[in-house]
């Protein structure tokens, strides 16, 4: 599904990613761990097409060259990024944002746009799966939401848009244990043999709930070690410095 070869990324004349390789197949869960400043969030930004990065190297997503696609085209083709810091958009009702987003994606796929009634039915169902109160959907997007509410809202959007590749950028940060479990359940219930996940995290604790097939350690812009789910527990004990 995703094939990254020799990826370099530079921002403001500073090279962050230095020859990164990664291969993700449908049905797989990959976790990326690593110390601060190792390039984890840069990888998420580059994959989603954020402006400001100069990149070299090859990124193929389902056979297409990602570098040639705009941010919204990548989203429409099934790349989803759960933001570390979801943005507040004052005056915009959460439901309206979600409906506009879903219809933009459906339209790009050549599917029929949903009317409000059908949309509301779907969103209510998905929200209740995540234990999200309906009232929360008529509030302004992310405005005044707690950290946990914002993260749950990201997972709700993921479940609504049904992307092929979901990138979770430190979704676990700032979550209490109950919210962490809800987020993890949300991911697990959505996971199937056709979609894939790239989970960026500092800590093992999210991986206790979402079992990764691979754990990669990112350091100084490239992957320095790859292992199975046990690598996380090992890192928790020994820290990243043991890998140098």
């Amino acid at each position: 599904m995703l094939k990254i070869k020799n990826l370099d990324a530079t921002i403001d004349n500073k090279q962050i990613l230095k020859g990164l390789n990664l291969d993700i197949k449908p049905g797989e869960v990959h976790a990326i761990m690593g110390p601060n400043g190792s390039g984890k969030s840069t990888l998420a930004n580059v994959l989603s097409g954020k402006n400001g990065y100069e990149t070299k190297g090859d990124i193929q997503f389902n056979g297409e060259n990602l570098n040639e696609l705009s941010t919204e085209e990548r989203a429409q083709k099934g790349i989803f990024l759960a933001f570390q810091y979801p943005l507040e958009i004052p005056g915009v009702n959460t439901n309206i944002f979600l409906k506009t987003s879903l219809n933009a994606v459906r339209k790009a796929k050549g599917e029929k746009e949903l009317d409000t009634l059908t949309f509301l039915k779907i969103i209510k169902e998905k929200a209740s799966e995540l234990g999200i109160d309906e009232k929360f959907l008529s509030r302004q997007l992310n405005v005044g939401f707690s950290g946990g509410e914002k993260k749950k809202n990201e997972i709700l959007q993921m479940k609504l848009l049904e992307p092929k590749l979901s990138i979770l950028d430190e979704t676990d940060s700032g979550l209490d244990i109950d919210a962490l479990r809800i987020v993890a359940d949300g991911v697990n219930s959505f996971k199937n043999k056709d979609n894939a996940f790239l989970i960026i995290t500092h800590y093992q604790r999210l991986l206790d709930y979402i079992k990764p097939d691979f754990i990669h350690v990112l350091s100084n812009g490239k992957i320095v070690k790859t292992g199975d789910a046990d690598l996380g527990a090992q890192l928790e004990k020994t820290g990243y410095t043991s890998l140098n």
Binding site: S48, G49, K50, N51, S70, T71, E72, A75, Q76, F80, L81, F83, P86, L87, I89, P90, G91, V92, I96, F97, T100, S101, A104, V105, A108, Q140, L141, Q157, L161
Partner: protein
């Protein structure tokens, strides 16, 4: 004229001209022009005298120059003050008699003039250049005693009302443009709602400037008698021309005891091209008097057009417990300039006013909120709340807020809040990541920013206004 070249500009969809023979007064501002206008409209003597008095006054008035957007000197002797489609020189008695070309123009503008479209439930008075060409739903309104017609017709048929109220809110000698209007106004709408009557439909006027080198000076007078209610909407468009055209309207509203007037404007005059060539100078005087106790006047404006917008729809809160409201969205893009806001003059006791202003600036544009809240000493226990928000797109545009606040008694309170924000790259990225393209993202964010004002518009127009907001800003984010 380079109208041909301008036709290629696709951004302004109302930019077409209509080829109609017109009757014009000779160029120039003088007594003969005024007499020509009065004569062609078969006005009574008192009306001509009123106009001439205004003209006398105009001679000693100076054009104001304190506003932020400056403009080249206007040569008032080089303008036409009256232009009417020839076929309307005898005002049509019903819709069938209107020149089909004019009907076609209104059709292009999306205005439901033909009564078959009555399902829309909106009565329309359409003003083409200088004359009013059609008023729909007249019969239905007449049954309720509501008068909705052109001001020219009202001057002939309802002189007692016109004489009593015309100039009672905006006096003859008010200021240069208002006085100019009083001397040369050509047409506009007149509304009278009798006591204890709720107007059963939205009343609407559509203004269209068609002829070149023509100033448009319309005059609107709305009177809501005791205990009545009316909601009124005006829309405006003009062809694309590389000259600047002057539009100096006067609008007077009068609300008597317990009456309410809701006045909404969607102003989309031609804004000039991307380089700032051409466009309308929209120098308009709008003022409402809450003359009776418990009366209410609410202005809502969505200003997206014009090269320069310079207006302050105001409320004079004379009656005790009267309420004035001003909701405004002013969007300036490219080289457009706006200096707009409101005046709330509190005279009666327990009067309340509310001002919500949203200014959006993009390209090289400049957007100014200027407002006056003046609570006089007898206006005890009065309140004002003002909120001015500015949104900037890009780094070449400007936003300015100048509130003038006067409180002359100790029992009244004034609150003022102001914010300036820049449209945020991260917000756009977030929207893009959810599959929205740049235009959709901007439209969503901007409509969110304007929401409190858009909510004030009558339902049918809110949707149109939302689209207009998005269209006005197209291409403004790189």
């Amino acid at each position: 004229m380079k109208t041909e070249d301008l036709k290629n500009n696709k951004d302004y969809k109302y930019g077409f001209t209509t080829d109609i023979e017109s009757i014009r007064a000779p160029k120039g501002l003088n007594e003969d022009t005024i007499k020509f206008i009065s004569n062609i409209k078969k006005e009574p003597k008192w009306m001509l005298e009123w106009r001439l008095k205004a003209f006398e006054r105009l001679k000693v008035l100076k054009e104001p120059n304190w506003q932020k957007p400056k403009y080249p000197k206007i040569n008032y002797q080089d303008l036409y003050y009256y232009s009417a489609p020839k076929s309307s020189s005898e005002k049509p008695k019903n819709l069938e008699e209107i020149d089909p070309k004019i009907l076609e123009t209104y059709k292009k503008l999306g205005i439901p003039l033909v009564e078959q479209k009555r399902l829309n439930g909106i009565a329309v008075d359409a003003v083409f250049d200088s004359v009013s060409v059609a008023t729909t739903f007249k019969d239905e309104l007449t049954k309720k005693g509501i008068i909705f017609c052109s001001i020219s017709e009202a001057i002939q048929k309802h002189p007692e009302l016109v004489r009593k109220y015309l100039g009672s809110v905006i006096p003859l000698s008010d200021h240069y443009f208002a006085t100019l209007n009083s001397a040369v106004f050509t047409d506009g709408s007149f509304v009278y709602i009798p006591p204890d009557t709720k107007c059963p439909m939205e009343l609407s006027t559509y203004f269209r400037i068609n002829a070149s080198e023509t100033g448009q000076f319309e005059r609107t007078l709305i009177i809501a008698d005791k205990g009545s209610y009316v909601s009124y909407l005006e829309g405006c468009t003009a062809p694309m021309r590389d000259e600047n055209q002057l539009h100096a309207a006067n609008v007077e509203l009068i609300a008597l005891d317990d009456a309410e007037i809701k006045y909404s404007t969607v102003q989309n005059w031609y804004p000039g091209d991307e380089k700032g060539v051409g466009g309308i100078y929209n120098f308009v005087t709008k003022r409402g008097a809450c003359r009776g106790k418990n009366s209410k006047i609410s202005w809502t404006q969505v200003e997206t057009g014009s090269a320069i917008t310079w207006k302050y729809p105001s409320c004079i809160l004379q009656g005790d417990n009267s309420v004035g409201e001003f909701y405004s969205i002013a969007i300036t893009n490219n080289f457009q300039k706006a200096d707009t806001g409101t005046k709330m003059i509190h005279l009666g006791k327990n009067t309340k006013s509310k001002i919500i202003s949203k200014g959006i600036s993009a390209g090289n544009a400049d957007n100014m909120y200027r407002g006056l809240v003046d609570i006089k000493n007898k206006a005890t226990n009065s309140r004002n709340y003002t909120q001015c928000d500015s949104l900037l797109m890009g780094n070449k545009c400007g936003a300015h807020t100048i509130p003038y606040i006067k409180n002359n008694n100790s029992t009244s309170t004034i609150e003022h809040e102001a914010t300036t924000t820049k449209i945020n790259e991260e917000q756009l990225y977030y929207c893009n990541q959810r599959g929205l393209d740049q235009e959709e993202a901007v439209s969503l964010i901007v409509n969110g920013f304007c929401k409190e004002v858009l909510q004030q518009l009558p339902m049918e127009f809110a949707v149109e206004a939302q689209k207009l907001v998005a269209i006005s800003l197209e291409g403004s984010v790189g």
